[in-house]
Amino acid sequence: MISLINRTKKRIAILLIAMIPILSLSANEPTAIQEGEMDVKNVVFGHIGDSYEWHITTWGKTHVTVPLPVILRGNDGRWHCFLSSAFHHSPDGVYDSFYIASGNSPYAGKIVEKNASDEEVRPLDLSLTKTAFALLFNSILLCIIILSVAHWSKKNKNKAPKGFVGFMEMFIMDINDNVIKASIGKGYERYAPYLLTVFFFIFINNIMGLIPIFPGGANVTGNIAITLFLACCTFIVTNLNGKKEYWKEIFWPEVPLLLKPIMIPIEIVGIFTKPFALMIRLFANIMAGHSVILSLVCLVFITASMGPAMNGSMTVVSVLFGIFMNCLELLVAYIQAYVFTMLSAVFIGLSTAEHAEHSVGEVKESI
């Protein structure tokens, strides 16, 4: 088993080493940081938003960034594919008629091009942005981890695993038995792979987001597109598997006839609010966590102009708070993955229950 972990480690190391040549050193004008002053808003929003390159650090005036591939389908109907560093190679930041929109444009920070009437329009943008890249990286990492555990399990039948495999097995079985099985009940096996995938997908993205160095630290689950997609998946699974009782509860609930005109719209809206709440909860929690940690770190640089005593004391405070917040975020990373999975399981359980329970209202309250 140790050799398996070692092998996995080696694979990851090879992956990282393979990435080093991609790192490019580019000397350009700093975007967010001015001499002596700091735009905290830009730093924080620049981090939690998306970008076309992976900025690692700025050393003096040299930005160390990982250029990421840009994939576009322009208005001319042709596909363009180039590295984001291409924008820096031309003096005006225009490459092949594409450029990154400036701060006062409605598409600030996105790649735009000019159409025939000289208006800024967005091409179809499938660029492998920072978030998308982190997403792919974390997905591959997740596959490697789970498949290695599965591989070990297959090879060592009826043996108790140790170390990392044992931990993962315990982790998976805990979610499987105490969340999915407990929430769905009979017939949970059908949904267990989906819910386990959701849990570990969210969890690994949350955890990787807390690691501040490349390739961690991207705000993946704090991006609305990611949570929107996950919530849509739960919405589809819940409603496609809804039994007769589930739909009856929505379109003909057991309430007095006069209340029905009120209850039915509420129930119909309820179908959509449940996944919507899932989407917003995960997005807001992770985004807020990233923002708070970044703000605390920025505190050190904001107070730099207030004299050494203030700066020193604020540094201690911000580091202590930063450590505290990181520990908290570690907890939040687990809790949010857990909550998303559990609520998805509860929704699926309610929609697939053979006999409609009257706990629907209670569950809604708890949400």
């Binding site: 942005t129 997740l142 789970i146 599965a150 792979p193 991006n223 597109a225 929107l228």
Partner: protein, 166 residues
């Protein structure tokens, strides 16, 4: 609010990566692991049950062997008892037989002695008779004519003999 606007490009990558991850893990990942864990659980349950059964069997065997041992001990005692009884009986019988034989022999010897004694008495009587007859003949021949004293003596002798005989 740019933060709340889902990017179509990111949605595309999310769709791609999540679907691929889901397919891969749902096919080769989680079911394999959960199945293995459940199989192992069953295996452990079965093993424990088998162990329990084996223990029960062992206990049964132990009880059986103890019962056998007790039986054997009982048998031993019984056999020993029987043996001692038999020994005593044999000894007793032997003694009785020996006594009977001894008695028989003694009786035979006695009878023989009796017979021999009788024979000896007969012999002696015949001897004595012949001796007496001889003595008598001589006395008679010498003193037959000597009168009544002789006759008296002969009578007396004869009386004595017959008296001792009877």
């Amino acid at each position: 609010m740019g933060l709340l606007q889902p990017e179509s490009g990111l949605l595309f990558w999310m769709l791609l990566s999540f679907v691929v991850v889901f397919i891969v893990l749902a096919k080769f990942g989680f079911p394999v692991i959960t199945k293995m864990v459940n199989d192992r659980k069953q295996f452990i349950d079965k093993s424990l049950q088998a162990a329990d059964e084996a223990n029960a069997q062992l206990a049964g065997i132990k009880a059986n062997s103890e019962a056998l041992l007790a039986q054997a001990r009982e048998d031993q005692v019984k056999i020993l008892k029987e043996a001692s009884e038999t020994r005593e009986r044999i000894i007793k019988e032997a003694k009785e037989e020996a006594q009977a034989v001894a008695k028989k022999q003694l009786d035979e010897v006695r009878l023989q002695i009796e017979a021999e004694k009788n024979a000896a008495i007969q012999e002696a009587r015949r001897e004595i008779a012949s001796l007496s007859i001889g003595i008598a003949e001589r006395i008679i021949r010498k003193n037959l004519e000597k009168g009544p004293e002789q006759m008296e003596l002969i009578d007396r002798l004869l009386d004595e003999i017959s008296a001792s005989k009877s």
